[in-house]
Symmetry: C2
């Protein structure tokens, strides 16, 4: 599995939890659904718990549950939770003062990237976890 499928895994897990409802599921079961290691799921769910989307409970009969109405979980918020640094990292500012491009490129690229990401977030905001669940259930 590639390194950057965190977002896809996060959405997969959220949809699964929305599907299961109040019962919730353990990280092992979710991992079986995603076909990965339970630790990966736990780590991603840790990020989602910090953002307030899920709640984890240890102990027997523990597991994860949604902490919010899936209709209130928009996809852009999930992306911010699991990729807080943004999609397009800019390389470190080069100290090359000779090249005029080096000096100004960072600021210019930052603006372009911010606008592009904002556009993407606007589109993602239109969809919620509940929408995804409905589509999955209708296609499945």
């Amino acid at each position: 599995m590639t390194t950057s499928s965190r977002y896809a895994v996060a959405l997969h897990v959220l949809v699964a939890l929305a599907h299961l409802g109040e019962d919730g599921a353990t990280s092992e079961r979710l991992a079986g659904s995603v076909n990965t290691n339970p630790v990966v799921v736990r780590r991603i769910l840790g990020l989602l718990a910090k953002a307030g989307f899920v709640s984890g409970q240890g102990g027997r009969h523990g597991g994860y549950k949604l902490a919010r109405d899936p209709k209130k979980i928009a996809l852009d918020a999930v992306l911010k939770a699991v990729e807080p640094d943004g999609i397009f990292p800019v390389h470190e500012n080069p100290p090359n003062r000779v090249c005029p491009v080096s000096c100004g490129i960072k600021e210019v690229l930052g603006g372009v990237f911010a606008r592009a990401e904002a556009s993407m977030h606007d589109r993602l905001r239109e969809t919620s976890v509940a929408d995804l669940l409905r589509r999955v259930e209708s296609t499945g």
Copy 2:
């Protein structure tokens, strides 16, 4: 997924080549501007050469030059060239037939991601390498 900084480096290099014009530059000089290793630049320029944006010439007095008018190089095309697999990779299709979410999630996520990326591409298409160069020169 954290896209690496390939895209930022690619744009930096393209702007630098547009700034230099017909003279072009070697990978070593470009690497000095980007503050990285020449081989990184060569690899990215290899992708851009495949896409027809630049042309590389070996031998003495070799180097890279733009192969197209910078006004005709849109930022979305550059992104496609350096990240052909898209921004949001979807994890491998899990063989878990028991979970209904597993079966349908891939297709649903694929659609959502495609729309989000399309929105971003539309925004990126509005800007060209020449626009970036103009902004860099005005701010510098």
